[in-house]
């Protein structure tokens, strides 16, 4: 499955990119596993997505918990807790 990964705010700045695509085999991986997989790909990703940092996740623009399992092509976003208003 092909995932479009988006990063926002401090995570985007730290990694240095706003968006990337990620081909994943096999299908069916939790967002937490995807986060760990991305973190293994570079030092900057590892820092920005470190397990002890408060990172929120969205799939197809819906905020969801990291335990959610992704099974098909979709847009996954990683961002810090929101601070609007």
């Amino acid at each position: 499955m092909r995932l479009t990964i988006k990063y926002f705010a401090s995570i985007r700045e730290h990694i240095g990119i706003a968006q990337e695509t990620f081909d994943l085999e096999p299908c069916g991986m939790s967002l937490n596993q995807i986060r760990t997989e991305l973190a293994s790909r570079s030092e900057r990703r590892a820092e920005a997505l470190a397990a002890d940092r408060p990172v929120r996740t969205a799939v197809n623009m819906q905020m969801v918990p990291g335990s959610l399992i992704v099974r098909e092509d979709c847009e996954v976003a990683f961002f810090p807790p929101v601070t609007g208003g």
Binding site: A58, Q62, A77, V82, T83
Partner: protein, 189 residues
């Protein structure tokens, strides 16, 4: 009294684009019942200044409206850092509008409201300027007061905006999420 479905969502920036209220598309395909989003309900993300009077005036033309309550969030000098000169606000285009519509729908389900308008700025906003405007209109004041507070509490925790404080020294720092915002959102159940 209310006019038929007319969602009014827009992102006013260089790449102006409109996004329908969630569910409107599905309703057209017959997969979901029609939403009761009527004229007077609007969410908008914009780079321009918020013009308070011109945003509020149309709501008063609805003869059923007897109360209008608004919340205006302003860039203040002392935030996480002292001597803030501006905020730089980022958002998640598309998700922001969906999240704001969900919040509006939740408010409509809880209170009898005539109009709701949420306008949030993105980009740079200087000290003393509005960042967000929420306007709620109802027949009587109680619903408008309560719904306005509810909308703001939910926006704080669910809408994908991120603020960065720009100090007078030119150094910028991301604003951290506050535990109290989570607590204030949870009291609504």
């Amino acid at each position: 009294m209310t006019e038929p479905i007319k969602s009014n969502t827009s992102v006013l920036d260089e790449s102006t684009r409109a996004v329908s209220a969630p569910g409107i598309g599905e309703a057209a395909q017959g997969t979901k019942p029609e939403l009761t989003i009527a004229a007077g309900f609007e969410v908008r993300v914009q780079r321009q200044q918020i013009e308070i009077e011109s945003e509020m005036a149309p709501l008063m033309r609805n003869p059923k409206v007897g109360a209008v309550v608004n919340f205006l969030g302003i860039v203040r000098q002392f935030g996480d850092e002292d001597e803030v000169s501006a905020l730089e606000i980022e958002h998640y285009p598309g998700m922001t509008e969906q999240a704001l519509w969900s919040i509006v729908e939740e408010a409509i389900a809880r209170w009898d409201l005539q109009a709701v308008k949420i306008i949030h700025r993105i980009g740079r906003v200087a000290l003393g300027n509005p960042v967000v405007l929420i306007v709620v209109a109802s027949e009587h004041r109680a619903a408008a007061f309560t719904a306005c507070e509810f909308l703001m509490d939910f926006l704080k925790c669910h809408a994908p905006f991120w603020k960065k404080e720009i100090g007078r020294d030119g150094v910028s720092r991301w604003v951290g999420a506050k535990d109290r915002d989570e607590r204030e959102m949870k009291r609504w159940g």
